[in-house]
Amino acid sequence: MNIRVIGIAVLAAVLALVPSVASEYWVGLLTQILIFGLLALSADLLLGHAGLFSLCHAAFFAVSAYTVAILQTRYGVTTIPAALAGLGAGTLLAAIFASAVRTRGVYFILITLAFGYIVWGVAHRWASFTGGDNGVTNVPPLTLAGVQIATKAHYYYFVLIVLALALALYRILTTSPFGLALRGIKSSETRMRSLGYRVGAHLYVAFVISGFYASLAGVLYIYFNRFVNPVAAGFPYSVEAILMAIIGGTGTILGPFIGSGIILILRNWVSGFFHYYTAVLGLIFIATVLWAPNGVMGLIKSLRSGNRGEGA
């Protein structure tokens, strides 16, 4: 336990120091890694804890980003109400799409895939409202209590603080009886059912909470990018969120962020000098599936399993 506390403290210190040593670009990239890590984490609440493979998380992400962008640029709504509306819209959509938990396995994947495409289609086709392919540009920077958070470093700190709160809540949630019940459902749904748990209700709530986290990532994303277009709602983003969670390690908090770091650094930095980076990404994914099905976090755990038991 001690090691864990020290580890978190060191990590927090390193993260807090980044803007003083790194250039603006790297701070920006790290912010992006944190935001997409949060999106991956939201999808992983279903995958890693409840065993549901969702392919529509980009939908909540994009709906909340679009809501904020349109409210701010077209209706002049200020940050706080716009951000709350974004969170609300994404979560509401999740409450509707959560009906997918009536299905399991491949049917769940297919229905979430279809839901995702609906949102992408609306963003793409309803051009008079969403701006179509061109999207919504020039979203103003985040403004809290009259103070504009315009620099990359300041926004990075803002994201860190929001993340710290969100992750603490996430940790409480996943270790609560509710979280443990989800794990129970993942390993054996019939057993949980025969023990008297309301499996459907648990999964429904988990889906909505997961949608809330994806919406939070969407709000952080729009104030970072200050631009959104249908790509944000697209199938590739949903898949990428899941891939990030798998590469980093499902069912963990740090894993999705590690996965997000690996994928985004490959795409944004390595692509600058190595054009076959997508092949590298493919190899990493194959290697993960073959040799480290529990991702980077699984590897770390198995290295340490000498002195610590496998943590659920």
Binding site: V10, E24, S271
Partner: protein, 411 residues
Amino acid sequence: MLNLRALMFGGAVLALSVAVGVSPAEVQEKKPIKIGLLAPLTGPLASPGTEMVNGFRQYWNSVNNMAGGRKIEIVVADTTCNPDQALTQARRLALQEKVDLLVGPLCGHEGPAVAQVSAETGVPLVMDPAGADDVTKWKRTPTVIRTAVSSSQIGHPLGEYLYKDLGLRNVTFIGADYTFGHEVTLGAVKTFTDLGGKVDRIIWNPVGTKDYSTTVNSIPAGTGAVVPIVVGADRIRLFEDWFNYGMDKKHKIVASYWLHEDVLPQLDDRAVGIIGNVLHYVAGIDTPENKAFVEEHIKLYKRVPSWFAESAYTAGLWVKTALDKINGNVEDRDAFLKAMRTVEVKAPRGPVKLDAYDNPIQNVYVSKVEKVNHPVLGNILMNKPIKTYEAVSQFWTWKPEEFLARGPYKR
């Protein structure tokens, strides 16, 4: 405690490796001018993206990578035809590589994203070849100028050509279902219907449509001509299905945006005689500037350049002309933008200059596919202009205010 030490060591390494990324700005009198080129080098439009980089490098190599007495350095970034990626890469070029100006991107929907980075950072953007109409009409950015073409700029002459030159009164369009396709198609529809023409049907296809059989089979019987606006690999699929289903015997086809030089090597003699494009550039333009450009390009890359290569080449020529005029003082961004806005360039595509809305005024060519014998490449297909619309403005014949009040072309 080993773990703690390992963690701290890891943290220190991370901090150091991040720090290495930053280098102090060089303080020198005549340091090189850095140009950031944004092109899709992977993904669905990798082939036009590569051509764009080739055309740009071809130009700068032809002038020894010098402009205004300073050396030119080109940094290429891969946008993958994804606006998010384009935005991140444009920020990287502006903030990390500290480029003096940006050139690109290629995909229409990446345009607004990169324009935003230019607005954020003040780094001038020479937009080439993304076509989004918005950029030089309703959503202009003071630091962004376009050297390629606006989507609907090539649509307007097409509508008139169909009505006046071909005498068509009712046509069917096959449009690519995204912003660029909408703007080209509906631009042509506008001028065609204004003259009195009738549109039998517009068949929209998403980019990446695998099968054009339903499309070609739903063309209304008795339509005067079929006018495709298709991009990417769809161009070849439409070509194959057009002949496989015997449409060449039933209908006349007059393309707006279809048989470009980059797909011609993959087609056969069935393409000969088709009006394959109404575009601001085709490789068969008969001017000394273009011949020199095409021959040099063939020598270097063993292929006939399409408009993507020419566009990047001309962007280079344009930037060089402007930089020479201000003696390479690119740090004075206002002076650079003013020079870009005022110079006139004799490009391979013909004379070009910017209008008051930062979009080029240029020729638009109606072209026909012909078979020619090239000394290096042998028997090849080539687009030859059969009619030239000179000095076409993005506003066609309307007053800019009138056009702007009407709003964008939307499906």
